[in-house]
């Protein structure tokens, strides 16, 4: 139990003053601008937006600066800010088929229509430290080539046309406001797939990565191919009831991953491929692939698969522990004063030792 205590105001104030100075660091080094963070630490900004569950690159960059680069602290700041914003409504679901692609690869089809587009990737770099960056050497301009205006269809839609891919059922929600929202109602189990996907897209990347890796190593084995990974810009549209039409009010970068997994079939369904799905704010393919693997693992019950005691298949385990703000809130509260609780424990252990001593003396 946490018992409120008073005192320490002066110490707290001084600690925060020191924090502000420690955040600034050596005054001989120029102050870091929020725009610099937004532009040059873009993947950290993307992670803060995804886990903070609020798309606003300037705010995420500010949060990173304020948190001294502590990503979870920055996510905490964004979550806290988010609660102050009135919700005007929900968008029309984004159409990722209409994405303006900057990267798109498939591990299942070499000659997919639209091709394999590498984009700005760390893949194939040698992971050797580049000391030119320490010297601030400007990069050469990115090469350009003639772009095809043709659409880039989802690769898995081709399997769907052959009936080899399990179709995605439409949701129960009649309209946007009916889509389950864990920021509005407490999580209840069993959770629907839309609720699970919402929890996974804002989940801690490290936690999801480990769970996804555990499925690959055999804990809830479910061999996944990356059917398609795409990163690009999508338009976000909203219906304007006072005007009677939709407007595309925002443009955001997202990462999407669709995995292809085997499904043996059941009494009612033929053998076919099933899908795991990941969709995340920003450029974050590690998170999107992890999300897709965990989404697929959590479908084990629905697909009538063997359920062992694999953590990734345990919906309550995954969804109750994937949020890093919830986790660190409970974890870190134990550093707050528990003086009274501990006094009680101390008294108890002293009494037990006294009683045991008395028994020993009596026995001698």
């Amino acid at each position: 139990m946490y018992v409120a205590v008073k005192g320490g105001e002066r110490a707290i104030e001084h600690a925060h003053d020191w924090l502000a100075q420690a955040r600034r660091g050596d005054m001989a080094v120029p102050d870091l601008g929020v725009a610099q963070i937004r532009e040059q630490l873009a993947l950290a900004v993307d992670r803060v937006m995804a886990e903070g569950s609020l798309h606003d690159p300037d705010l995420a960059a500010l949060a990173l600066k304020q948190a001294r680069g502590d990503v979870i602290e920055a996510v905490f700041l964004i979550r806290a800010f988010r609660t102050t914003l009135p919700r005007f409504g929900a968008s029309v679901p984004v159409d990722t088929g209409d994405m303006q692609i900057i990267r798109r690869i498939s591990a299942t089809f070499k000659d997919a229509p639209g091709g394999q587009v590498l984009g700005p990737t760390f893949d194939y770099t040698h992971r050797l430290l580049d000391f030119d960056l320490a010297d601030g050497v400007a990069p050469p301009p990115a090469p350009e080539a003639a772009a095809s205006p043709d659409p880039v269809p989802h690769i898995l839609s081709h399997l769907g046309e052959e009936g080899l891919m399990q179709p995605e059922p439409a949701g129960d929600a009649e309209n946007a406001q009916d889509v389950p929202d864990l920021t509005r109602a407490p999580l209840e189990f069993p959770a629907s797939r839309p609720l699970r996907l919402q929890a996974l897209t804002r989940a801690d990347e490290g936690f999801l990565l480990s769970l996804a890796y555990s499925t690959q190593r055999g804990y809830g084995r479910n061999h996944a191919f990356v059917g398609e990974l795409r990163i690009g810009h999508v338009r976000v549209a909203a219906h304007m009831p006072e005007l009677g039409f939709d407007i595309e009010f925002a443009d955001i970068l997202v990462t999407e991953c669709e995995t292809v997994n085997q499904f043996q079939g059941s009494k009612s369904e033929p053998a076919q491929f099933t899908r795991g799905y990941g969709l995340v704010f920003g450029q974050s393919e590690r998170k999107a692939i992890s999300m897709a693997l965990v989404d697929r693992a959590l479908r084990a019950r629905e697909l009538g698969e063997d359920m062992g005691d694999a953590p990734a298949q345990d919906e309550e385990f995954v969804l109750s522990h994937c949020d890093n703000i919830q986790s660190s809130g409970f974890l870190e509260h134990i550093k707050l004063p528990h003086y009274v609780d501990f006094q009680a424990e101390l008294e108890l252990i002293r009494k037990l030792r006294r009683d045991a001593g008395a028994v020993r003396e009596a026995a001698q």
């Binding site: 914003l85 929900a90 968008s91 590498l118 990115a142 095809s148 995605e168 909203a238 005007l243 039409f245």
Partner: protein, 146 residues
Amino acid sequence: MTADPFARRDWMGLIARAPLARLDALWPDDPPAFTWLRAPEMGAMMVQGRAGAVGAAFNLGEVTVTRATVRLDCGTVGHALVQGRSARKAERAALLDALLQTGAGAGLHARVLGPLRDAECGDADTRARRAAATKVDFFTMARGDA
């Protein structure tokens, strides 16, 4: 770029997505006389996606937005729902939306909307051309025993 006339839904979106600096550079004019029907208000819209890209809708996360509504002295009403947290951008967007519905609209189409669309298409085109330069050309290796 295409020279299609702009429908109201198109110009509202185009202005909503534009960076404020670009909008200010194209339309630095003093605002006409107007009254607020809804002063700029910052908030969030929940962005939704679909399971498996085509299935059930789910909540992906929110995006910051600002909305405003103005009425010009002639009675024309302008609405704005813009990406980001700028009261000024929402005000400018709502005023433009109103003006574009009036006789002043024709001039603003050419002066503001055309360049805004060209700039947005230009950004997209640069990204598409860079992406195209990273497209993989596969070739089949000749086998040693052939």
